[in-house]
């Protein structure tokens, strides 16, 4: 009897945990469907103008608001790209150095630094971006004659890259150290230098795992909120210039949903549509990344 109760309790716990997933998808999905009854999916995914402000009176000009999400997607992509341009070289090089060259003492000295970087809340990175990084970058840009907006894609992306670096590093260090020793020793025995072994043997062998790590990094970058809310812009700019302010999906969700709004307006529902797009995108990236890592594990482990 006691056994049954315990088992039933455990099962209930499990079911609730599973329900959470269903709830997430359902709640976000149903709001998204409601949004698409106001705005057609085509104009959402392919429209180039985003101005969700809705006029108070219906007869005013532009009363319906415009929900073309292309500028938001390009902004998100640009910031994620800049972040990965920082995080991939830094994270990969650091992982390779730690697993190939570093003595145990050096490794034990530097690993905590990267763990601390990984454990710092993102709001702190946001503060760092606006208080320290942005002014420094603007000064430096001024010296070489570039005018950098105070809220630029470059600042947000670079700081986000620093945040993601430890993540990419620890993931790729795992896969690099899982490359069979026989391959490495074979290469070294043939007279290859350690660096030649790294980029001719270890990196190609670990490639699926590294790709997986990079994809997971990208998925973190596009879902990251606080850094971009604080350091990137609020208005949707369709631009390819990283020195200007751009906005991201997460920033728009935050701006649309903070403050008091009635819950049925397309403005608030648009946040759910963006959230749903984000959710699908990150799940997709995560799924692809996991299948890469799985393939890698099957090959060697």
């Amino acid at each position: 009897m006691f056994d049954r109760i315990i088992k039933a309790l455990l099962l209930i716990g499990t079911v609730i945990s599973i329900l959470v997933t269903v709830l997430i998808v359902l709640s976000v999905f149903s709001e998204t469907v409601r949004f698409f009854t106001h705005v057609s999916p085509f104009s959402f995914f392919f429209g180039t103008e985003w101005s969700p402000q809705i006029a108070i009176r219906s007869d005013q000009a532009g009363s319906s608001g415009r929900f073309g999400a292309i500028p938001i997607f390009t902004g998100t992509a640009m910031i994620a790209l800049i972040a990965m341009l920082v995080a991939i070289p830094l994270g990969l090089l650091a992982a390779i150095y730690l697993s190939v060259y570093a003595s145990p003492a050096v490794r034990n000295g530097f690993k905590p630094v990267l763990e601390i970087l990984a454990g710092i809340p993102t709001v702190v990175y946001g503060y760092f971006a606006i208080v320290a990084f942005s002014p420094i970058l603007r000064e430096a840009g001024g010296l070489i004659g570039l005018s950098i907006a105070s809220e630029s894609a470059l600042v947000a992306g670079a700081v986000m890259g620093i945040m993601i670096t430890p993540f990419v590093m620890s993931l790729s260090e795992d896969v690099i150290s899982a490359v069979p020793k026989s391959l490495i020793y074979g290469s070294l025995a043939m007279g290859a230098t350690p660096s030649e072994t790294v980029y001719k043997i270890m990196v190609p062998a670990a490639m699926p795992g590294i790709i997986g790590a990079v994809l997971l990094g990208i998925s973190r970058a596009i879902g990251e909120t606080m850094i971009v809310v604080m350091a990137a812009g609020m208005s949707a700019n369709l631009t390819a210039n990283p020195l200007e302010a751009v906005t991201t999906a997460t920033v728009q969700i935050v701006t649309l949903l903070t403050g008091d709004h009635e819950f049925d307006s397309p403005k608030t529902l648009a946040a759910f549509a963006l959230g749903f797009t984000l959710l699908i995108l990150t799940l997709l990236l995560n799924f692809i990344a996991q299948s890469f890592v799985k393939k890698y594990r099957e090959r060697y482990v």
Binding site: G13, L93, I96, I120, V124, Y127, T250
Partner: protein, 443 residues
């Protein structure tokens, strides 16, 4: 004479075209030797790049901590000015509730600087003191009406700009006045106050006991800290039993089939969902469907619980997996039922690992900001919350709110709040490491 130079130059150019050192006339190295040298150079370059990457991360961490500590350390102190307040019955009048306490302080300031008569100058003079000083005087009178008619020497808080200036500069250093929005006349007054020993710097207890405020000198983190604490408490109560139950069920009782595989994939994916999506979930489920109070620690805690649930499940399952099968077999051989095997043995042995993972996920929940923005915990709340349904903020949200405020005093407060948050997180991590080292069983 000239011809020799010309010849030398021609040879040098030729050597440069062949990629050789133009001025070295020693016999060349063999191609094989050059190839080796090139490879070794590449090797050194690569190694340096790797080290540079590590060093760069260290520099970033250093810069981050430097900017936070450099901006924030002064917030733990505050500047006070000694004023002789005349609680005259004329000014306070018949009703102490509605009296003009500003006048009390303005009179005291004018007594110190009788030469100030012009309206503009008076305004500048009064701007030296914090608005919170009036409230302090009001509280004093309301608490003890017998003060009316007496003169008292009181230490009252200075305005934020005076406070910042005093903490960061020597009192006779006028180079940075403009950046604190102080004018030359105010600087002279400050110097006089300092000469008269009427200025002191004390421990800023308001930062630790006060709620949010419009004035940086009277804003504190107590409200948001208690909000954080209450949300985390709710989060623990909900997430810990659920997470551990799920892990134990999946690891010990569930049969391996397509359904449990699906659940496994599901939970792994949940851990990768951006945190802001959990905020959307909290908003639409807890607030709009269940009608729970907006901005409350209850909704915040539940949302955070959903966020860390998959993390706890994964960590607990990993901990359960490390318990060797022999333990299970031994227990079963002694006639224990499956539930007894799980509760009396496996879960017990896995508990240190489960706890470590759990504590680390609490640290993550404590630093989380974006889901709380979604459920309205960004309101400007001056009161310290008394229950889990009161509107509140949390410490990271407070940091976000203050960081949006460009005033110098708030930049300082933000950095100080970050120092507190990082200190708490560091303490939690140290605790987790201690639990792991002290209790974990190595098989």
């Amino acid at each position: 004479m000239f011809k020799i130079f010309k010849r030398r130059a021609r040879i040098a150019i030729k050597r440069m075209q062949r990629n050789q050192n133009p001025f070295s006339f020693s016999p060349g190295k063999s191609p094989a030797q050059k190839w080796m040298l090139r490879r070794q150079r590449k090797e050194r370059m690569f190694r340096r790049c790797g080290f540079g990457a590590i060093l760069l991360s260290c520099v970033f961490l250093g810069a981050l901590l430097w900017s936070v500590i450099g901006n924030g350390y002064t917030a733990f102190q505050r500047t006070e000015v000694l004023l002789t307040i005349d609680f005259s019955a004329d000014v306070i009048g018949s009703d102490p509730e509605t009296a003009d306490y500003r006048l009390l302080m303005q009179n005291a300031l004018r007594e110190l600087f009788p030469e100030v008569t012009e309206r503009r100058e008076k305004f500048d003079l009064y701007a030296l003191m914090s608005k919170s000083a009036y409230y302090k005087l009001r509280e004093m009178i309301l608490a003890d009406p017998s003060l009316i008619g007496q003169r008292r020497n009181l230490w009252l808080p200075a305005a934020s700009k005076v406070d910042m200036f005093m903490k960061r500069h020597a009192p006779d250093d006028d180079s940075a006045l403009a950046s604190y929005k102080l004018n030359a006349q105010q600087f002279i007054w400050i110097k006089k106050l300092v000469r008269d020993d009427r200025v002191r710097t004390v421990f800023n207890h308001i930062f630790f006991t006060g709620g949010d405020s419009q004035e940086p000198e009277s804003a504190g983190i107590a409200g948001s800290f208690i909000g954080s604490l209450m949300s985390i408490l709710v989060c623990i109560v909900v997430a810990f039993p659920l997470g551990v139950a799920t892990a134990v069920y999946l690891e010990e009782f569930a049969r391996k089939n397509w359904f449990t595989d699906l659940i496994e994939v599901n939970i792994n994916n949940l851990a990768a969902v951006p945190s802001i999506i959990y905020g959307l979930l909290g908003l639409s489920v807890f607030i709009n469907t269940l009608g729970m109070p907006r901005s409350s620690a209850l909704v915040g805690g539940l949302t955070l619980a959903l966020l860390i649930l998959p993390v706890i499940v994964i960590a607990s399952r990993n901990a359960l997996r490390t318990v060797p099968r022999s333990i299970r077999f031994a227990a079963m051989a002694m006639g224990a039922t499956p539930v007894q095997v799980a509760l009396h043995h496996t879960v017990l042995y896995a508990l240190p690992g489960i706890m470590t993972g759990f504590i680390l996920s609490i640290a993550r929940a404590l630093g989380e900001t974006s889901p709380l923005l979604m459920i309205g915990m960004v309101a400007f709340v001056t009161d310290i919350p008394r229950g889990i349904t009161d509107p509140t903020t949390s410490l990271p949200v407070q940091i976000y709110l203050w960081a949006n405020n460009p005033e110098a005093g708030f930049v300082e407060n933000t950095a100080a709040a970050i120092i507190m948050l990082l200190a708490v997180l560091a303490a939690i991590n140290v605790f987790a490491a201690w639990v792991r080292n002290r209790f974990e069983i190595k098989w």
